[in-house]
Symmetry: D2
Subunit: 365 residues, 4 copies
């Protein structure tokens, strides 16, 4: 299944539904200067230093950065892609912290505005492995919600080979309209759009607005990525379907009919829906009704934080290599598996060489 890229050197189109046809393969195109532009939130992420401690007894926090599109940009950069991040930071020291980290990682920061009067986002997280991660978002008046139409117009989206958008970027203006415009520009320029659902319940005026807005957005999306919970979230009809315990905003429990939700998304014109299923790997659903299971790489889980974003980075790597969805997801699974053996997020997303060795050591793709 390797080397698909060299064979599928055609342009991209939403009407081509088959798995192998999804390959954009713009590598030879001179006009593309970024492999990927990711769009949305960025933050300083403060992780409890005492693993297992209840939040109120945490003595200190490691200082990392985070936010799904930031993590994905870092992940892509470590895999050797030219990744540009479109986010906003405040005119404050936390903004400096975020930008400094990104530059060290080689992420392209040329299109990140410093927003006067807004604040760089922050997240404070407790860590009670393997899977309890209470978190507190500091996103009131946050800079990354202030991405404007002009910022999008100047971001060079048409010069990217892929646009990745985080669902949280759709929660408020002006970021929301700007994201819709970004997707339009991408479509007009045959740049495939990947939506990472990134459902964060407390960031919406009504949790049902997440699904309403995401569904509208998916009309200009080629690929959708999410956990089962996030896919259910896109079809919440009643607030009682959602349960968040221990303030684990990033790990809600949601009731609903997953098959209906998957079918619904595919009807919106999305070509492929990739469901991240944790240690089990991933599932790929396509409009032709096909459903492919992509097994994960068995590892010992230290913490699951960052696994989803590492998956996305790996998947994008494969997708831009011209690999088919199966192999791209395998690459995503490998990156996710690599991260869960460590304690951290963007900071521990793998480098290209390491992950390819990891895959080989596990028996290959």
């Amino acid at each position: 299944m390797e080397g698909a890229g060299s064979q599928n050197s055609h342009g991209y189109s939403r009407n081509e539904q088959e798995i192998d046809n999804l390959n954009p393969n713009f590598m030879s195109t001179q006009e593309k200067i970024y492999d990927v532009t990711t769009y949305g939130r960025s933050s300083i992420d403060l992780y409890s230093q005492e693993v297992g401690a209840p939040f109120e007894k945490i003595p200190g926090f490691h200082a990392f950065v985070g936010g799904s599109p930031l993590n994905i940009a870092v992940g892509c950069s470590r895999l050797g892609l030219k990744a540009s991040l479109l986010t906003g930071v405040g005119k404050d020291k936390v903004g400096d912290f975020i930008l400094h980290f990104l530059k060290e990682e080689g992420v392209i920061c040329d299109h990140i505005p410093v927003i006067e009067g807004a604040r760089s986002s922050a997240v404070v997280l407790g860590i009670e492995p393997p899977d309890r991660f209470p978190l507190v978002y500091y996103r009131d008046n946050c800079a990354d919600s202030q991405i404007s139409i002009d910022h999008v117009l100047e971001a060079g989206i048409e010069k990217s080979r892929l646009l990745e958008v985080s669902g949280t970027a759709l929660n408020m203006e002006p970021s929301r309209s700007s994201a819709f415009l970004a997707a339009e520009i991408a479509q007009r320029n045959s740049v495939p759009v990947l939506l990472d659902l990134d459902f964060r319940a407390d960031q919406w005026h009504d949790i049902r607005a997440f699904g309403i807005t995401s569904r509208a957005f998916m009309r200009n999306v080629n690929l959708v990525l999410g956990t089962e919970e996030e896919i259910l979230a896109a079809y919440i009809k009643d607030e009682s379907q959602l349960n968040i315990s221990h303030q684990q905003i990033s790990a809600p429990e949601i009731k609903g009919d997953i098959n209906e939700a998957i079918k619904g998304i595919l009807k919106l014109g999305v070509e492929a829906l990739i469901v991240k299923t944790g240690s089990r790997g991933a599932m790929v659903y396509q409009t032709d009704g096909s459903k492919v299971e992509v097994p994960g790489f068995p590892v010992e889980v230290v913490n699951i934080l960052g696994a989803g974003d590492a998956f996305a980075a790996g998947f994008i790597y494969g997708f831009l290599k011209g690999w088919d969805l199966y192999k791209s997801c395998r690459m995503g699974n490998a990156c996710g598996a690599h991260v869960v053996t460590q304690l951290g997020c963007a900071n521990f997303t793998p480098y290209e060489k390491d992950i390819l060795e990891f895959i080989e050591s596990k028996g290959g793709f």
Copy 2:
């Protein structure tokens, strides 16, 4: 007024593109209890009593009601349709004024919430005929922008034969997400959706957000209605394209390529785009590339206010009768022509009997 309805008794679907196929003809369907639900703004409209006076010398104002979806609901009601208005009013005397007027007109007000803490909208208008109408919107914290997801769920959209949405309802939350949901509910229930572009430049955080949001919304729209200026507004790329002189928010001048804009809209899945061209009548554009001119009824223009909404009411009347788009637009043209001979807005939209006589007197459809 022959029995067109009985001939086109098929269901409605977005894939049926031909003009005659657009007829929803749910008349016989028992579950439909409203002919039309209109969605969006409502206001007390205060019209200068001294026609021709510059604004600062106006001695007094006639008290009417207004707001595009309100006007259309009243117009439909006068034509004999069961029209339900989904808007919001504040807990104030202006809200009482609006509701009192609507009830007198037979508009169904069952789904209009009284929003605590918000204010009923108001508009103050100068009148300098034939075509200068400076106006001031009082829409900060307005009740009609507070239509929530729950209000939509309770509004019985699935029990309507048509959903009409005003573009201004898309400008802010929660009204915007609620409108997107309303359109989804309509589509799921085979209720055709008509979008009246209703561009009001000063109601948007960025005038380009009007087009971005409208275009996203049109994915769930069957019929789009607008003036040439509004269609251009849906494709503004640069603020310099817009010029508003004398605070005539409802009559902007916009530069752009109208043919490109029309083509763009039709690519979004809209079946027909109806362009109101004033005294010249209307143009109907369809996805099959067809373009039909529908002549107006020549009358002496006293003032053009309210003509567009009267057109919409007449068009909806014809559409729900099962008439083709040409005849429906002729009906719209007649209603518009009737209104421009008078000084006012919803208050002077015609009754069924009068407008049919008017049409006959002008030589018929």
Copy 3:
């Protein structure tokens, strides 16, 4: 109109408590270029044209202007004083309307900023004489709440002989801090400060904040003016003390102990508290414990709107003439009486010549 001024030619000081000492008498002072600066709200006021009609049946509205400090500035101007109004208007036609009216009346508008992004205030009033006046304020995002510290610094308060502040200007930032600064500047420059309580319950986040803020403000106030209800409002401890029926924001019913409230205000350093008691006239309370009744002028009441502001203008006129508080209040009573025989507000406040004739015709001061 005898030369009281020439007898009391001393400077002004908050420690001088006796009634005759209150006379600022800056007439001869060359540096004073305004007789009075009034500070606070301004609006287009739309008065029902059908007196007695319930609000929902009002056919039209007379267009006037209003807002307590605006009315007082107009009243002072008509009485021959140089009156400067410090308010804000939006960049809209209603702002033009307000400014046009003020200029026609000779009110000094040099310090009225046109605030981009804010809206000129509007008020819509029903009129059901003699005393029911439901009203609706359009004050969300209003321009007159945007008076800034810089606007105050440029307003020439130190060059005024009196500063009048409306209590409503204290309800939100930045107008509130700016008003506190205005009073400080006045005190530093021996410009007496008059606070018109102007209680409008729905303009406060908590009705008790009106009293809290007013009481803090009174530390830099020489003269307080209010109705009995407004004085009680300054000491509301519990929301249940307030009752507003028929949306008569300007005529609340308030329970409380008026004597306690009066005593409380006088303890704050205020030299005189003038209570407007409608047709009965006014009461003057001073820190020395004195209490003087100032009888009104009996007239037939058509409507009471505007009477309070006309009183204030008349009082200021007398005060600046160097008259004692009794005679100044008589002048206020006369102006109030003159207005209640007419239907209107600032528009019907009397001219100097007319009111002096009126007083003479009623037997003089």
Copy 4:
């Protein structure tokens, strides 16, 4: 100068101006159940773990709590006083963290509301000793600005022996009006009010509003506490007077005339102004024109953070013991000196026994 408490067992009154008369000495009064209520902000304070590291390279943060009134409450509690904190926390894990710390410290939390829809405050600090501390406030929509009038009414201020208010609490509604009410309640009940100026420039819509509002507040204040910079801040007339470098919000440089500012404050009715002068100790200014220097305790400075709040706690301890201002300030100086030898804030404020030993070791009061 010791033992003053036993001799001055009279009630408290703002008219008694002499230093020895300031002693409230309510210790024997049965109705007082709290020694001190502190009012205002509270936060999780995240301190750089790598002392000296530039902000963008900080690897982690110690988790403490902070906010001037919180620190003072903790300091008082450690000195043996019954300290009640009136602040607000959000319904989030950071709120739990803050409350847990306070309870461990014995601070009375009975009147701390958990505010739905608001967020617990957070502060992120870099540490570059001895005196550069860039910090970032997360205070948009913060819970401690949501202290309402009802919260104040229920807080038992009249049952406290002292009310301490932080100047930052005056920056926005509803906290501001509530603080003004708290001071009124205190004054009515002969509870002395201490204002800690706590100037944080970026927390005000206009930096000059800090002075305007503080000066209005001081009308109901007995004792004012601040650094020289904060006292100058209370009289800023022009934004150019302020300079904040390296985002050191808590250490602004301000130009101005300190003597004028001190005189100004004493004219507002404040009985004593205590100026914290760092390692030099403190200065006490009183309305009688007296000026007393209170020397500090020489220690080796590790970091100055928290010194001001420790001073306040020590001062309050002495004041409530009935000590005169000199000895109370010496106690404050000792507590401040104790803290600067450590790295932290509220966490390192001294216990009663330790500080008394420290003072003795340094030669006593």
